[in-house]
Assembly symmetry: C2
Homo-oligomer: 612 residues x 2
């Protein structure tokens, strides 16, 4: 069983405070009611300190006083109304009037995820401002929104990966109540909510966790410094902290799933990996609640154990991001070959991604300078999440260019087709559905002057190779954040409107054509022609069959491999004038054709009408 | 496929040299024939440098010259005749006249391992000096000797864990030819040879590996400093180095199995753990050779994945040391409760060890201050190796006291019984079979003055809590090593002779009574009585059945739990006068007895004569 932590408001002014500080000799809760009240806490054998208080109104602020000296906010604070360095606030979760009692979640196989950044998605940058847009996302075919991390980070602007209070909801976004209103509205609109959470590091400013307990270990070094202590002495308390965190989002906020950031940086060499324990605990919680809560991981390890069940020695997570698919697709559309893109660029890579999942399943990776990965061919398609872009691939570029700034309109449609016709769960990054052209830049709003300087310098260093293109935008500048906001109104006009319709049509087909709605990788056939840069994909489910041809070359290609027998009807051709293409060169129906002429950078889909 | 490294003597004066130095711009082999000959090497795409030479006689010495500057011995040297800082020597493995062509190895289920230190086992301290003692070990019932590490370490005296040339055989022990003579003699005597190898660190003196390639990574910190690079950039070459090392011992030395030292310090977070790759490669080699080569691990993780097969997500090693059994047994015999012994001390611990393997299978460990381990109940008994002592438990004490210095003669017999009647593979530490009383101290013979000082200081620091007992013996002193040698002649006299007979009798019963020779943990029943410090164990196989009672209390105990029905014959009682005990208080035969009176610190074994 896990141990509750944080401030638990019980109603009628009663509140229990629990904090883990195993090495402290004395801990007290300092309450601002508003008159200052110091309540001594009692330690249990595991180093958890507890106190009960009366006459605490929701919103009451508090700090913990350690060893009668240092005063710090609650590591498990639910709300930091004044920022990372100020007191925590008591949240009365029971006060919210939920209207999602009949909500049963979205089956994993029906997920179409829309990743968004709360601050940049709307001009207001709040949870409440998202709500009016939900109906439109639902109409587009989206079934879940995924929020970039919302935990309290320094200042008002941040991607979210500098969060330092993993249980809290950022004050600038609308705090706990704002998030609940959004989740409730999503459920009313038929949308699931996935929340991005960071269990591999904490941000560099306002992180006081070490003052309370050994949350970090020197045993490992991550890209962000000392690793979080998942397997060293006293790690049970750290594991409890993050497991409680996961359950907190499900229990108090009705969130449907978590996206676990960069799990390859969760270092745990113990006999029971933290992620396995987390998955078991979430499965128990799901069983108790009678609905399934999802754990979706970002992983750079190409390790099928992440999503394999426990019986096969896996961690048992539900699905993971498939970066290999993105990189394979992207390098067929752009000339980028820097960094990890060096490992991709062939039609064969995309073919393998669609067939097996991991492209690197033990092969030598030039970028990593070692063999990488293990085969995921045994895993079903709905355990992988694919995308033509996400916040990282946009925002980690020096100028934050979205794909429409880098490739043609035709290429964008082709990319959309490849993602949405794949046997995987698709993820869209906010604005991609209408080819948004605003950048998504890297932005922060730290308070510490040294840190601000370090981040600026780090960013310059990172892009030194691109000095010819000027300096990277200042991450600390408000303007950098403002530029990153969506130009949402533009979706109604011209090509952007066309793109939106194209996504909607693809998502409709994905839902309605059984061969596209299925996830069984055994029910697909895929082949590529390297020189012609053509990919041919056939999928079936029961009597339903589709095939699609993707031409990654700028030039027309004649596809003359043996076409499947039977009579086929064209469902969609991205080269069609309807989609602002050059016009389809493909017949409406085909039967015993010897070859097909496919337009450059296009994507065509046929459905079987009469079996041959 | 792996890549051969080192100097390969092909006969007729021809030799090929291969060394991995991926970042070097130039490498040459500097041969002493004896006139100095410099042979430029050629680099392949993976950074392996090769050269061929003629007129090289076996024993010829060489160095590698890197970037036309630094000259170093071969990281894969097979022999360092003049020590760790001097040239490597070419070894002609084909020259040895093996006579073990019909040797098929010892089945894993029949292993009775005898761990010995080559330097301390005999007055001479050589491989050749071991040979005359093999017949006696075989007669005792031992089926395999396990050599503490023999790879070249600094100086002439060392436990072996400071080795820096993992492919070499120490010159003081007799070098490559000496080891071959010993292995050949073992096989002729019907004994297998297990070699202790260290893949988790290299020693502190004479380690020039980093001059050649990134053998180490700063990603992790082990107890010995930077970890060996098993998963970072260029780790493929490091993995190849150690896999080649394993195959080297099997191929060139006919060794039957490897004992992998402290695998919990082999840090590898990649999708295919190094140990999994090693096990797969050794299995392939075994298949090619038509006999099974064993991988036995020392692991502190209590992680059943170590010995689970690949299909269950395991590494697929053959067996692992079961420290939990030792600690459970030892803390029933002694009052030691320092360090890891704090986690043991109950009859229930030993009972769980015998029933399941790991005692800590997810429970909180006070010593580690965290939950520890995962259940090994699904693993068969022959995947665990148990012992009443080994080099570590003796040698890591300040005064290196063996068990006979710490507990009574009765307790020693009880410990032997617990180990040899258990459903696991037993391991004896040299001399234990005759209750050797010489200490086994920690000894080194470093050449570096700073290192010597550091080791002395470290040893003092380690035993600061025992200052009242004086200073620890100087590890660098020759005398410390000499004191650690066995007093082998003493085995013929008095109680030592009795103890030897007692071990021989137990090993005979273990072989000849089917219920004791079997390994199926499902065919056993075990119970403990905490207050009386009694353990009752029943084992069966087909029609054969035994039960034994172990009394860990100094006082007589009346065992009156329901005795198994049928007519039982006493096979052995350690309290018998024959074994220098107080005399057996147990009947020769029992049938429908209501209770048994068991002498203090004794061990009794009955066999079923007629089923009830």
């Amino acid at each position: 069983m896990s141990i509750r932590i944080g401030a638990r408001y019980e109603g009628n002014g009663r509140c229990e405070f629990i904090v883990w500080a195993p090495q402290a000799s004395e801990v007290a809760t300092k309450l601002f009611l508003p008159e200052v009240t110091m309540i001594p806490m009692e330690r249990d054998e595991w180093g958890y300190w507890r106190a009960r208080a009366e006459n605490v109104m929701p919103g009451a602020q508090y700090l913990y006083r350690i060893n009668n000296d240092e005063e710090r906010p609650d590591p498990a604070s639910h709300f930091q109304p004044l920022g990372v360095h100020s007191p925590s606030a008591v949240v009365a979760h029971g006060d919210f009037a939920w209207s999602d009692q009949t909500w049963a979640g979205v089956p994993q196989e029906e997920l179409v995820i829309y990743e968004l950044h709360t601050g940049a998605f709307t001009p207001e940058g709040t949870f409440d401002a998202i709500i009016p847009r939900l109906a439109e996302l639902r109409a587009l075919g989206v079934t879940a929104i995924e929020l970039m991390p919302v935990a309290e980070f320094p200042g008002e602007r941040n991607w979210g990966y500098d969060g330092v209070y993993p249980f809290s909801v950022h004050h600038a976004y609308g705090g706990p109540a704002g998030l609940k209103r959004l989740v409730n509205a999503c459920h009313e609109a038929g949308l699931a909510v996935i929340l991005d959470v960071v269990y591999n590091h904490l941000g560099p400013e306002g992180n006081y966790l070490s003052r309370f307990a050994p949350y970090f270990t020197d045993k490992y070094r991550t890209p962000w410094g000392s690793a979080i202590n998942f397997d060293d002495a006293r790690s049970d308390g750290v594991r409890n902290y993050f497991i409680e965190n996961a359950l907190h989002w499900f229990g108090a906020y009705h969130v449907d799933g978590l996206r676990l950031d960069a799990i390859h940086a969760i270092y745990d060499l113990s006999a029971r990996h933290f992620l396995q324990e987390l998955a078991e605990r979430v499965a128990e919680f799901s069983a108790r609640q009678g609905r399934k809560y999802l754990l979706l991981a970002e992983s750079d390890s190409n390790d099928p154990r992440v999503v394999r069940p426990k019986e096969m020695g896996g961690h048992g997570l539900d699905a993971q991001w498939l970066d290999d698919f993105h990189h394979s697709l992207r390098t067929l559309l752009t000339e980028e070959r820097c960094g990890y893109y060096a490992d991709y660029g062939l039609v064969a890579h995309l073919v393998k991604a669609i067939r097996e999942g991991f492209v690197y399943s033990g092969e030598y990776s030039p970028h990593r300078q070692r063999k990488h990965g293990s085969s995921s061919a045994d895993r079903p398609g709905h355990q992988f999440i694919v995308f033509a872009r996400n916040h990282d691939q946009v925002g980690n570029r020096m100028l934050g260019e979205r794909l429409p700034k880098l490739v043609s309109f035709d290429a964008l449609k082709l990319a959309a087709g490849a993602v949405l016709i794949s046997p995987f769960i698709p993820l869209l990054f906010m604005g991609e559905e209408y080819a948004e052209e605003a950048p998504f830049l890297y932005f922060v709003s730290h308070g510490d002057a040294d840190l601000i300087r370090a981040v600026r310098e780090g960013r310059k260093e990172e892009f030194k190779a691109f000095e010819w293109a000027g300096e990277p935008p200042d991450p600390q500048a408000v303007e950098t954040f403002r530029q990153s906001k969506l130009d949402w109104e533009s979706r109604k006009h011209g090509r952007r409107r066309v793109m939106r319709e194209f996504y909607r049509e693809l998502l409709r087909l994905r839902r309605e054509v059984p061969a596209l709605a299925a996830f069984d990788k055994n029910n697909l056939e895929i082949a590529g022609q390297e020189e012609l840069r053509l990919v041919f994909l056939r999928r079936w489910s029961g009597g339903s069959q589709v095939f699609c041809v993707m031409n990654f070359d700028r030039r027309k290609a004649v596809f003359n491999a043996a076409l499947p027998s039977g009579r086929w009807k064209k469902l969609l051709d991205s080269a069609d004038e309807e989609w602002e293409g050059v016009g389809s060169s493909l017949p409406e129906r085909i039967e015993a054709e010897k070859s097909l002429t496919v337009s450059g950078l296009s994507f065509a889909l046929y459905e079987l009408e009469t079996a041959g």
